[in-house]
Amino acid sequence: MGKSMIKKFIKYWTIFSIELKNHFVYLGDFILSNLSIVVAYFVSVQLWLIGYGTRQEMAGIYKQELIWYLLVVQVIHFSVDYTLMLNIEEDVQSGNITNYLNKPYSYLLYTYCISSGKVVLNLIINFSISLLMALFFAKSFVPPLGGVLQLFPILFLGFLIHFILQCICGIAAFWLERATVFVWVLNTVMLVLGGGLIPIDAWPDSLKPLADYTPFSAIFYYPAKLFIHFKFDLFLHFLAGQIFWVFILGSLLLLEYRRAIRKLDINGG
């Protein structure tokens, strides 16, 4: 059991590292394709600076802290793999998915490794680019050490939740034929309802439960909030929330995937 797990891990790790290497070949182009974050981050900071006006603090968040908060959410927004849903749709519609099903790996795990290769490199590039901008805008604020270290588990789980959501919508192409319509909608909904543009602390009390009942805040708000206001009990609370969403959405995805594959069998592959 142990050995086979290790073998599986090595197999998927190899897929991930090959994908990472592929992107390194076209690193220049890859960096250029990540420059949108400069504009998006600049625009959001500029808007908030106007919003703060002469105030230094709003809803318990200081101006400098908010600049770092926006850094984290924009880095996540520009690093997640939004094309994943379209790729799955393409695999389903072209019938290409059958080429993966007869291989000795799981289609979902294979897709996860491929997508993660892109996400990891995006993350490094976007963080490096926007860090310079954040230092320019915020100057004095230094995030707590816990706030930096929490990024590793919280971002990992946040990206996993994002991946699962994308897969759920992409596999819906088995029934809907066209998942494209969901792409931009889902991105915008996730960003806004996930506290990506306005921290949930600043939302009216009547709307705050909306963040608890949707998985989007686990992608954007949790890592950004912990980055500026790290508290260990809050970290554990958010971690438990992310694990809950991974379990619920993961189960939903597996259920959908199994039904989809059965539908494929009925169609004769």
Binding site: D29, G51, M58
Partner: protein, 260 residues
């Protein structure tokens, strides 16, 4: 007139091919409705933490979102998938088909993307405009003039960015420029200062895709309208010139395809 007929013919073909997937058209409308509504929700939320954004009120920002949608929607119905794909046609040498026909290459290339099934964004923008802006002769005229001029500016700069592929040979720059243009267009230009603001009225003219029509709606200035009109016309002329200059560098992909 001949091009209008061609445009309508492409719209008809597109409509017929999508009648089979009527549910997707409805889905597309609701997807656009949700996306645009979420942006309005964002501004509503933003106004709970601040009272004013450099003189902009909530209703003005809803008009901005509406103009963004109307302008993008008009171009989307007019040229559809070509918004993001002209560069791919250039890069992969797929313009041969248009070169061999007795129609203007650029006009035919654009018209061939006509997509009536993408009307959702246009309808949502129109709905929000009529819902939040008091309906009178002036606001209705501005709805048409602002949307059309904005669409001409957007279309022209689309062509300009895509045409750069003739020289650069890669697509990333085009997509990044378009994404930046749309990102800036979503915010009122008044929140920016100095060189950035100047850029948004000139070489990355995001101001014309929302801010300028809204400014004219709430405070009419003949000079602003004149500048808007002149900028739209000169952008279009410049775009056509750049495209044909670039076309001289076009290399065929020698692809043999069957068009059905």
């Amino acid at each position: 007139m001949a091009y209008l007929k061609l445009f309508l013919a492409y719209l008809k073909i597109n409509l017929n091919s999508h009648l089979e997937y009527r549910f997707n058209v409805v889905l597309d409308f609701f997807a656009n409705l949700v996306e645009v509504s979420i942006y309005i929700f964002f501004w509503k939320l933003f106004f709970t933490v601040t009272q004013d954004i450099n003189g902009w009120k909530f209703e003005q920002l809803v008009s901005l979102v509406a103009f963004n949608s109307l302008i993008y929607g008009l171009v989307d119905v007019g040229i559809g998938g070509m918004i993001w794909n002209i560069n791919e046609y250039i890069r992969e040498g797929r313009i041969d088909f248009y070169l061999t026909l007795p129609k203007n290459v650029l006009a035919h290339l654009l018209i061939s993307g006509a997509s009536v099934n993408r009307i959702g964004r246009l309808l949502v923008g129109l709905g929000y405009y009529l819902l939040f802006v008091p309906v009178n002769f002036y606001s209705f005229t501005l709805l048409i003039v602002g949307s059309l001029l904005g669409a001409i500016v957007f279309l022209s700069w689309l062509i300009i960015f895509h045409s750069l592929t003739f020289w650069l040979g890669q697509s990333t720059f085009v997509w990044e420029s378009l994404a930046s243009l749309l990102e800036f267009a979503r915010k009122p230009t008044d929140i920016f200062q100095g060189i950035i603001r100047l850029t948004l009225y000139t070489i990355l003219p995001a101001a014309f895709l929302g801010t300028v029509p809204v400014q004219m709606l709430y405070e009419f200035s003949p000079w602003r309208l004149l500048y808007f009109g002149l900028f739209a016309v000169s952008s279009l002329m410049g775009a056509v010139g750049i495209f044909y200059r670039g076309l001289q560098r076009y290399e065929s992909g020698n692809l043999i395809t069957v068009r059905m």
